[in-house]
């Protein structure tokens, strides 16, 4: 599982720092992600995992350091541009269009991705290729049966799936998932894993989650963040065997998945 096909990273950070006032929430992070890689980012609450994801996706600007996408400096690139360049993400707290149906949710992202969303004069739902793609994405995450139900009326677990479908609609090369299984009973988190396993092989996925079962089964490499810095990085087996990680993170036990700053 550890061999990586290409040696060139698709996403790289160099000495990335972010301060909130005097507090350093991300410190000198050097991180690389390779095409097709399955990576998990773990760490105790407040380790700065979500902040780091926000820096990668462009929601937050770093205080110093660089972010490279396929070797290109994107540190100053806006969130919107980064999405077009292939960085997709989901949110820790579900962020959908509550009154719109599942299909409309996905359609909006498809339309935006394919550059037809600014069109004035064609009826939206007559665009056959886009509609087909939206339906196909819904099918992939197992939501075809609720395509016409408003997002806010879906059970929470299915909203998480819809969130993944929306992110996939943007044809990401890199997919950042912020706690996709948050709020889903552990017994059902395998559904998320099943879907993650059907993702196209060439997409690099970086996931944050507190569900260790999910993390260890999904990831090829695990990065442990502690107080904003990379504590250790390695294969699941290495991480599981690492005494220090046990101490700072696993040893604390019972992290059932709540907000990390």
């Amino acid at each position: 599982m550890t061999e990586i096909v290409t040696a060139v990273p698709c996403l790289e950070t160099q000495d990335l720092c972010r301060f909130f006032g005097p507090v350093r929430v991300t410190g000198d992070v050097n991180f690389t992600l390779h095409p097709g890689e399955r990576r998990a980012l773990i760490g105790p609450n407040g380790a700065g995992k979500t902040t780091f994801l926000n820096l990668l996706s462009g929601r937050l600007a770093p205080s110093s350091g660089k972010i490279l996408l396929d070797g290109l400096d994107i540190t100053q690139t806006s969130e919107v541009r980064r999405i077009k360049m292939g960085i997709g993400r989901t949110f820790q707290i579900t962020s959908l269009f509550p009154k719109l149906t599942a299909r409309q949710n996905v359609y909006l992202a498809v339309a935006e991705c394919e550059g037809i969303a600014g069109a004035f004069f064609r009826p939206a739902f007559s665009h056959a290729p886009q509609m087909e793609r939206a339906d196909e994405l819904l099918h992939r995450v197992g939501l075809s049966d609720v395509a016409e139900i408003a997002a806010e009326e879906l059970p929470y677990g299915r909203q998480r799936l819809l969130e993944i479908a929306v992110a996939l609609a943007l044809r990401p090369k890199i997919l950042l998932l912020d706690e996709p299984a948050a709020g889903i009973p552990t017994a059902e988190s395998h559904v998320i894993l099943d879907i993650l396993e059907t993702l196209p092989k060439e997409i690099a996925v970086c996931l944050i989650d507190h569900d260790m079962d999910l993390v260890f089964r999904f990831a090829q490499t695990i990065t442990v963040l502690v107080q904003g810095t990379v504590f250790v990085e390695g294969t699941p087996a290495e991480i599981a065997a690492d005494e220090r990680v046990r101490k700072v993170y696993l040893g604390e036990g019972g992290h059932d998945g709540h907000a990390a700053a």
């Binding site: 996706s57 929601r59 969130e79 919107v80 999405i83 077009k84 993400r89 949110f91 962020s95 959908l96 269009f97 509550p98 009154k99 719109l100 299909r103 409309q104 359609y107 909006l108 992202a109 339309a111 935006e112 991705c113 037809i116 969303a117 600014g118 069109a119 004035f120 004069f121 064609r122 009826p123 939206a124 739902f125 665009h127 509609m131 087909e132 339906d135 196909e136 099918h139 197992g142 075809s144 049966d145 395509a147 016409e148 299915r158 929306v166 609609a169 943007l170 559904v191 099943d194 879907i195």
Partner: protein, 332 residues
């Protein structure tokens, strides 16, 4: 959960919404019915058509793009004064001046919108209000152009299409404004059913998420604002042409408030809200203000408070809930 039937193509009930059913003909049939059955009411009906167009343009912002503005009269007034001033200087072809009014309002909308839409919440609300007050003061002081407090009097417009003179009974104005409203309605309907229209709804529902799927939000909202501005300007120009008069009231805060109330009374975000709200508002106004305008003001206040507290969604909202109740009854 993951085991779905292989068929991906589902029935598409969304289609139904865009299809033109018999219901859609009702407002237009009523309009023509008024003409046939109630002669003498053409001027009132004309006034309603103008306000419906105005409210429709506001619906694009409030109902679809989620931009609450308290300065929409600024754009209406820009259109009215543009048409009026042109006519006062001898350029009085109705369609050409209406287009000029549209253009001027779109330009003003672009100018103010490009500033306003960088903000949100209270700042946006206040900027919209300040923009209209700014225009009002400008018009109030530029008496040489606008006639100031006295308004722009004694303007007249040439025949529509060079054929139909504006007549004393207001028949030309009736058909002219109805025709323009119909075209504008078709335009707005196309717009809100387009991918652009859906992306506006997305922004209204969750602008952060919309940003995260790569939507250039500011640009989209500004486009919507300029389109709404052009339509409001068109309504203003029609008003100037139909009444042959432009007063400062067309730029006032009261008018901005009134049109918002008309729209909300009908129901925003429904396309037909304006068609319900405007007549309702104007009939109620006519009824209550007959003895004393104060009664109407009180009525309007109570209606607004009551509606916000007890009937959100306006008439369309009430209708929708009734329909849902009937449907539930009908089911075994």
């Amino acid at each position: 959960m993951n085991q779905q039937p292989a068929s991906i193509t589902l029935p598409v009930p969304v289609r139904r919404r865009t299809a033109l059913t018999a219901l859609h003909a009702i407002p237009w049939a009523v309009a023509l019915g008024v003409y046939a059955l109630f002669p003498g009411y053409e001027p009132l009906a004309t006034q309603m058509f103008v306000m419906i167009l105005f409210a429709l343009s506001l619906d694009l912002l409030v109902g679809y793009a989620g931009i609450v503005t308290l300065g929409h009269a600024g754009l209406f007034g820009t259109g009215a004064y543009t048409a009026g001033i042109l006519a006062a200087h001898g350029f009085n072809d109705p369609i050409a001046t209406a287009l000029c009014g549209m253009g001027a309002a779109a330009l003003v909308g672009l100018l103010f919108g490009s500033c306003m839409l960088r903000t949100k919440g209270l700042a946006l609300l206040m900027l919209s209000m300040a923009s209209a007050f700014l225009l009002y003061e400008l018009a109030n002081k530029a008496t040489g152009w606008t006639g100031g407090d006295d308004g722009l009097q004694g303007i007249s417009f040439g025949p529509v299409l060079g054929l139909f003179e504006f007549d004393f009974r207001g028949r030309t104005a009736f058909f002219y404004t109805l025709g323009v409203l119909f075209l504008a309605f078709l335009f707005v309907r196309t717009l809100i059913n387009s991918p652009f229209g859906w992306s506006l709804r997305g922004i209204r529902e969750n602008d952060r998420r919309m940003g995260a799927i790569g939507c250039p939000i500011y640009q989209r909202r500004l486009t919507a604002y300029v389109i709404a501005a052009a339509l409001a300007g068109l309504a203003g120009a029609l008003q100037a042409q139909a009444t042959q008069f432009v007063a400062l009231h067309v730029l006032s805060f009261e008018l901005s408030g009134d049109v918002l109330v008309m729209l909300i009374l009908g129901g925003s975000g429904h396309l037909y809200g304006a068609f319900l709200g405007v007549p309702l508002f104007m009939f109620a106004q006519d009824l209550l203000a007959k003895q004393d305008p104060t009664n109407w003001q009180l009525g309007q206040g109570i209606i607004l408070i009551g509606m916000v507290l007890f009937a959100p969604g306006g008439m369309m909202g009430i209708g929708r809930r009734l329909m849902a109740a009937v449907r539930r009854r009908a089911r075994p």
